[in-house]
Assembly symmetry: C2
Homo-oligomer: 292 residues x 2
């Protein structure tokens, strides 16, 4: 294990501990609701948003305890979006992280409610934080707006709207990437800044945006070059269905060039910060080179 | 028009003004997302939760300006729940308030997103209120918890789980009614109390619970005795599908007796308050005697 992998694993483990406590204390009825929430939360994944949030918090000298519930809420929102995205009326994905999607296990009606439940619970957690002062309210509202109708949901809506377009428009692709993917990653890196009185606010916003684009382009590349074993989800589906992907617009080579460029831009922003940004730089490269 | 009807109409109109401004300023992209949100918000309805909230606020001497965004958020949440409830995988209702359901107009994928969008926007509005102080945070969190996995969503989940049961259990029926219907009505009447330092908190909670049960039982009665023209939705569907309804458990006569009893209990709670409760008493009777 490299030092980066070790550090990543440690941040991930500490978040998984937070998530485990949350799941253990959930205790809602009926049981199928409780089970379906926990099922999707425990499907695993890279937990990249919480890891990013903790890493940026560390860079800014923020006590990680202050970020716990923000990281939790963000992962709840991300998980809800996957459940609803996988529904037959949306992306219609039967697999998620190598296991059956929520609606394949619990049925579509319960999956709709599981998604609603995770989204609502994220905000219940964040309202709890709002008692701590106005910078906490600002951070909570930032997450909410990134997830909302001028954020992630707008991106999902555009994705759905254009999924059968015969030609791809670059502006539309950018709109989908910025909103569907970048916004929650921006939330992950901007929340610590808000809790630190806005330190590196604009830089981190830009960093999150570029990293989100990088994440999505590598996703598109993996959809063509990856395999089910590593990805845990269907491969080649996006391009086969004629969805909006960078590979479809630019081709594989140019998509790789674009990804390299975004990677450089992310690293450049990090270099403008004081403090140790090695981990975050490695994280950018990890997003670029990941196989799942 | 009776005095009650006039007062109701005035409160409803003032809320519709709030909702109109909200819709006019929505401006999200893509257009289909904007349209689908506004379509369901403008389907009309009695706006009983906002009216209740304003009426209780008036009784407690609260400035109605303070309640504007809470009433708005509550109606957004109520509307999202109707959109998701009407989905084919849930209640599968093609009509709502005499017009095609959201998914019949925009498709199921967009209806899922419209619901998600309204829920998320409700909380964005409420986070905005949280800057005003801790009682505002408490009120916002109260709404969120009433709507959540130990509130309305739990009720919807139980409703879905038991919809094909051959026999009805009274405890399950109570659980569904309390959570699916009463919780948002409780939120409507408890929020003004929280903003007034908890005045009549327990009494209003109980009042909201009973009024919610009354609302749901009269709904069940209307499902049997009403007609499509007045209701604007399919009639006899709940009982035909063997859903959990009071009429199916108790029969029509006993359901009417129960409704009368709840009506009396609500009025009794109101009589324990100082101030003019005439409007709220008439509102209770309106819920009992409504034809839609």
């Amino acid at each position: 294990m490299t030092e980066f992998e070790l550090n990543y694993e440690n941040l991930k483990k500490s978040f998984d501990g937070i998530l485990d406590s949350f799941c253990a204390g959930l205790d809602c009825k009926p049981e199928i609701l409780n089970d379906s929430l926990i099922y999707s939360l425990r499907l695993g994944g890279k937990r990249i948003r919480p890891v990013l949030m903790f890493a940026v918090g560390k860079l800014l000298g923020l006590d990680s305890q202050k970020l716990k519930n923000f990281a939790l809420a963000l992962e709840l929102i991300h998980t809800y979006s996957l459940i609803h995205d996988d529904l037959p009326e949306m992306d219609n994905d039967d697999f998620r992280r190598g296991k059956p999607s929520n609606h394949k296990v619990y049925g579509t009606g319960n999956a709709v409610l599981a998604g609603d439940g995770l989204l609502n619970t994220a905000y219940s957690v964040l309202f709890g934080e709002c008692f701590n002062g106005s910078e906490y309210v600002s951070a909570a509202k930032y997450i909410c707006d990134c997830a909302g109708i001028k954020g992630m949901i707008a991106g999902q809506s555009a994705d759905l709207l254009h999924q059968n377009d015969s030609e791809i428009d670059e502006d539309v692709l950018d709109f989908i990437y910025e909103n569907k993917t970048s916004k929650l990653i921006m939330a992950a890196v901007v929340v610590p800044s808000i809790l630190c009185g806005g330190k590196y606010y604009s830089e981190l916003k830009l960093f999150g945006r570029d990293l989100g684009f990088l994440f999505q382009i590598t996703d598109d590349i993996l959809d063509v070059e990856g395999n089910f074993e590593n990805l845990g989800k269907s491969v080649g589906k996006d391009s086969a269905e004629g969805k909006y992907t960078s590979v479809r617009l630019y081709g594989l080579d140019k998509s790789n060039v674009k990804a390299d460029l975004l990677c450089e831009r992310c690293v450049k922003i990090l270099e403008s910060f004081n403090g140790n940004t090695e981990f975050l730089k490695d994280l950018v490269n990890f997003v670029r080179q990941r196989i799942n």
